[in-house]
């Protein structure tokens, strides 16, 4: 890398991941610049979620390397990557069903900020608790702070997913289909929320909902069969013939038909 060139938030070099006979990821090389909003599109089974899991550290790649903010994290445990500023959501909500919304957000804030072994109860004016209330407000759960997570609706649980990722003060925010199962109104709220995020947060989003994905993305990567096929800005992607064939084909066909 040339001296003075900005360090990318995320850099993958030749990343592969094999599960037995299945090559889920194959030679993935990509860079996401700091502050960028990147959408990753692709049909089911293209390897999008596997890519997230490799970046978050759920399992190491079988080949290649992962760099976050210029640090090689290929062999780093998930908690250590989170402390570097990687926060993610999950395609199927991974929540604490026995806790309340406030407690979940509190855990998410403290997980990234320290004091993880404190045997003390947080005071009502504790900074983390105040911040938890702010985040609940931002994701539309202000009225449900004391609600048990298990009693939230599906849509509210998806909002809490995003809230918990934001609570970790991310530098790189990875959203795995955040709009899945949301109502139209909730999608609009979510899109606005992502658009309003400060530019010091880099966002990588996997999303099947084109309206959400293309509304927030600066650049788009299209994956198929475990490898990135095309990268470009939203307009380029929409008019790209390869992309139309593998992913948008039916939509384009419908317009002409």
């Amino acid at each position: 890398m040339a001296a003075g060139a900005p360090v990318p938030a995320l850099r993958l070099q030749g990343v592969g991941r094999r599960f037995g006979a299945l090559q889920a990821l194959h030679d993935v090389s990509m860079e996401v610049a700091a502050g960028e909003r990147r959408a990753i599109l692709g049909p089911n089974g293209a390897g999008k979620t596997t890519l997230f899991n490799v970046v978050a550290g759920d399992f190491p790649p079988t080949s290649g390397s992962v760099e976050l903010f210029g640090t090689d994290v290929t062999r780093l445990a998930p908690y250590a990557r989170t402390r570097l500023g990687v926060c993610r959501t999950y395609q199927t909500s991974q929540l604490f069903m026995g806790l309340t919304v406030a407690q979940s957000l509190f855990l998410a804030i403290r997980g990234a900020s320290g004091g993880r072994f404190s045997p003390l109860r947080p005071k009502p004016d504790d900074r983390s608790r105040v911040r938890a209330a702010e985040i609940a407000e931002a994701v539309g759960l202000a009225a449900d702070l004391q609600t048990a997570v298990g009693s939230l609706s599906h849509g509210q649980q998806r909002q809490l997913e995003v809230g918990m990722a934001l609570a970790g003060s991310p530098r790189l925010l990875m959203l795995d289909e955040p709009a899945a199962g949301l109502s139209r109104a909730e999608r609009i709220t979510l899109t606005d929320l992502i658009k309003r995020l400060p530019r010091d947060i880099t966002v990588v989003i996997v999303e099947h909902d084109m309206d959400v994905a293309l509304a927030v993305a600066d650049r788009v990567t299209v994956m198929a069969e475990g490898t990135p096929l095309v990268e470009g800005d939203p307009e380029e992607i929409q008019s790209n013939r390869t992309v139309q064939d593998i992913y948008l084909g039916h939509a384009v066909g419908g317009r002409h038909g």
Binding site: A56, D58, A77, P78, Y79, T82, R83, C87, R88, Y90, Q94, L95, F96, M97, G98, L99, T100, Q103, S104, F106, L107, A108, R110, G111, A112, G115, R116, F117, S118, P119, L120, R121, P122, A143, Q146, T147, A148, G150, S151, M164, G168
Partner: protein, 372 residues
């Protein structure tokens, strides 16, 4: 709310008064064999309830950790010549410092067990902790020179002397320790660390993604479990005055598990309720005759039957059952004061949220217009 709170305060006060008066009015047998014995067993079960209910770690090593503390206490506090085997071991420390060191060692062993089992979940965790417990039992049984074999040690004396000489004092010691542990753990549940344990119980993967070293927190929780179990072991050694491998064998392991399940794994107080019930059954089973069938010598049959009934009828234990009944009653009377969506309360196994938004809009289900 003030009425409910003062009602709760009065109930608590009455229970405390009863517990304090108990040894003054009850005969020695009821003070020691029933009450003190129950509290000692209850503390061991509480260590399991806390680990299982709040951390998702159903450890079968708690009886072994308690037994380990008892053996360490014996080795630390006995004077070399007094033990049954005539072994040269025994540091001759006073009872309190000996107890504190023994409890610290049990905490450390708990943490070590935690480190060994930190990556195991579910049935694998259960089997691993059982293997550690049984392994430790055989170490104690077969290392005659260190642990005194099947004879063990005799002549262990606590700070209150022989319990049978002064039952009330030993009872108050057990009561004070039980209360301190119970209140301490209840405080811990809502602390940062306690919430971390519950997050781990619900979703260890998410905890790791939030920046927590789940393995380290599991070690910490097992250390707390060892600490609490160790206190039970020390009190048990003082209570009996002698120890043998029987205090940490498989029977004792199952006993602790049964007590925790009878009381209710989700409720810390259940450990003590279960222990009292279990002790009563154990003591009085011999005099029970049902339809001409005597349970003398068959107390395990009675315990087993009771266990099966409780698991089938009340999977959350006696306290869980009482909690449900209480909620059913108060919910009915509460419905008149303010409209609460019954579905919202019923939904989920978790307790209803503590604070309701005071001005939550009340939506009547009947007059919602249909169609458009």
């Amino acid at each position: 709310m003030t009425w409910a709170r003062s009602q709760q305060g009065i109930t608590t006060l009455a229970i405390v008064a009863l517990l304090l008066l108990y040894p003054q009015v009850m005969p020695r047998f009821w003070v020691l064999s029933i009450a003190a014995n129950s509290m000692i067993l209850g503390i061991a079960a509480l260590s399991l309830v806390f680990m299982a209910g709040y951390g998702g770690m159903t450890s079968l090593a708690q009886a072994a950790l308690a037994g380990f503390a008892a053996y360490m206490l014996a080795l630390l506090s006995l004077v070399p010549s007094t033990n049954a085997t005539g072994s040269a071991l025994g540091a001759g420390l006073p009872s309190i410092p000996g107890a504190l060191i023994a409890i610290a060692l049990a905490t450390a062993l708990g943490a070590l067990f935690g480190a060994i089992s930190s990556r195991s979940y579910g049935i694998y965790f259960l089997m691993l902790t059982l293997a550690l417990a049984v392994g430790f039992y055989y170490i104690v049984l077969q290392n005659y020179d260190v642990f005194g074999g099947h004879i063990g040690f005799a002549g262990i004396e606590g700070p209150t002397g022989q319990p049978r000489e002064d039952p009330p004092t030993f009872y108050y010691l057990c009561l004070a320790v039980s209360a301190a542990i119970y209140l301490g753990l209840r405080y811990l549940v809502r602390s940062q660390l306690g919430l971390t344990f519950q997050g781990m119980r619900d979703n260890p993967r998410r905890m790791a993604a939030l920046g927590y070293r789940v393995g380290a927190h599991r070690v910490a929780l097992f250390g707390i479990g060892g600490f609490v179990a160790g206190i039970s072991g020390v009190l048990g050694a003082w209570y009996r005055g002698n120890i043998s491998p029987g205090i940490l064998d498989l029977n004792r392991t199952i006993e602790v598990l049964i007590v925790a399940v009878i009381g209710g794994l989700g409720y810390p107080i259940g450990a003590f309720v279960g222990a009292v019930l279990y002790t009563l059954i154990k003591v009085f089973a011999s005099s029970v005759t049902i339809a001409g069938f005597s349970f003398d010598e068959r107390f395990n049959t009675l315990v087993g039957l009771g266990f099966v009934v409780i698991v089938l009828v009340a999977p959350n234990g006696i306290v869980g059952l009482a909690d449900r009944a209480y909620r059913a009653v108060t919910h009915r009377s509460g419905a008149r004061r303010r409209a609460v969506d019954p579905l919202a309360v019923e939904a989920g196994l978790v307790p209803a949220p503590v604070a309701q938004p005071p001005d939550a809009p009340v939506i009547a289900g009947d007059d919602v217009p249909t169609g458009s």
